[in-house]
Amino acid sequence: MTTPQRRAHRKDPAGPLTRARDIPKEPTGIAGLDVVLGGGVPAGRVTILSGGPGSGKSTMGLQLLLTGANAGDAGILVMFEERAATVRQDAWSRGWDLARLERKNKLCLLDARLDPKAVIAGEFSINGLLAILDRRITAMRAKYVVIDAVDALLHLYDSPTRERHELYALHEWLLDRGVTTIMTVKAIDEAEARSRYAFLDFMADCVIHVDQRVTAQITTRRLRVIKYRGSGYGRNEYPFVINESGITIIPMTSNVLQHRPPGPRVSSGTAWLDEALAGGYRQGTAVLIAGTAGAGKTTLACLFTRAACLRGERVLYLNFEESPEAMVANMLSPGLDLQPLIAKGTLAIRSYLPEAMGVEEHLFHSLEDMSQFQPTSVIVDAISACRRMGSEQAAFEYLMRILNACKERGITCMCLNQSSGRESIEDISGIGISSLIDTVILLRHRQAGDTMVRQLVVMKARGSRHSEQFHEFRVTDRGLDLVKA
């Protein structure tokens, strides 16, 4: 895992979520969360993290401690439910070596599970825990405390008043120690969290809710900051993923101002189309190729791919419909051999099954592929399949972010979409992304007597005087050939 820079006061003029007089913060080390929180959790204060089982609360807490420990600041994990051995093992499976940090006295796993056989006989307090914690904080000079599943402790008390009183006492105690704390609280849903533990939201300086939901059989995780005293924060719901290396949140930084201006013209890979486009596509813009099944969308994209690769550029082909092998084999028919390009390392084909994961995991993989491969062009084949990531909304989110990511990096993004060919230009993308699309090419079939004729028309080309003609073409073993009228 990466060790982020530690700055108590983050003053990033570019950060749209940061204000000049934000309170001191501690970065959590969770990619994206620090952006949403405008730098991190409040330093020396208490943050509540609520969410259902398996929503990633404990992982987030642990990641804060690891970020601290790796930067040399000690932290303590107080566990009310899990065994230390289990936590170590789970962390190990993510490649986090807790035992090493424990030996270096940078991390302490404090087992605070209560004996389930113990008999409750009268009034008591958590002074035992506080004494142990106090001793550890002093001995380790701990800066961070994560209290995992504080609700398990609260269940010991028979009255909500006592529960509240003990938690306020704990909160005060932690503030007095000046440690940066995350308390996790289990809640099946947000409504429950807000009623039973509403007082926590008032008490803590920062409240974050995470949840896991299933829409159309696909699980997605979401995070929302409910409050942050003394700081600005991103107010949306943010999707996040938990993978083997921890948590990644992909905040929507759809700031159009960060888009790069269109670059020089690049060939579409087909001479007559370049002519129709007044010179080709522009580098760093978004191109949509829509058309009926079998109209030649993938062929058009692959012609562009080959031309780009031969110019020495790098193309990332995200395929949601075919495996790389099937795609390479199918492209031999219009005379396109992609294998040498793959072998040379200028073309990367990544095939994903849309329904295999939620939208944020797809995003995570796609953005990861982009940052690893550093392409000059990205091809998404096909956006109509993206709906199978869960819903129309999921497809929209995915494409919106991919397009934004491309435009921020000056990458040409070509999206293919299967359509009936009868839509208006507004819904040709089908997914409501037309405002981000610079060039739209429509492919369709037409019946002429007893033969089928393929047609191509440039419906839109921002900033170009493009041809308005319907071009008739044939797929040959040399690519797409114009049929002279």
């Binding site: 113990a118 008999v119 006989a121 009268g122 009034e123 008591f124 035992g128 825990l129």
Partner: protein, 112 residues
């Protein structure tokens, strides 16, 4: 079971070194002079005197002075009473305000 560290012997039976086989040995974890801890000690002594007089030992540990002992015995709440002998051990939290409940938990119901 000798007296050392933060442990204080309240009552004892038999020899100074090893308790007699029929002796009840308790560890009482308290937090300084907080009222709940004082109540628990008073109640425990009263119950023991009434039922196992002369056959018990109470070792008190102040978690504020001896946090390591609290850590070692996983004592999260105070007061906590652990009956360490005879086995199996029994743990109780709280002021021990209800003698009947405490006696039942300590398997002393029916003891003289």
């Amino acid at each position: 079971m000798t007296t050392r560290g933060g442990k204080r012997r309240i009552a004892q039976a038999g020899r100074d070194t090893t308790p007699a086989p029929d002796t009840y040995v308790f560890q009482l974890f308290v937090a300084g002079d907080e009222p709940n801890s004082a109540l628990a000690l008073g109640n425990l002594v009263r119950i023991c005197d009434a039922h196992i007089a002369g056959r018990y030992e109470i070792h008190t540990v102040d978690v504020l002075k001896n946090a390591d002992a609290a850590y070692k015995h996983n004592v999260i709440v105070t007061p906590t009473v652990i009956l360490t002998r005879p086995l199996p051990s029994v743990t109780l939290f709280g002021t021990l305000r209800d003698p009947a409940q405490v006696l039942a938990a300590l398997r002393l119901t029916g003891a003289r």
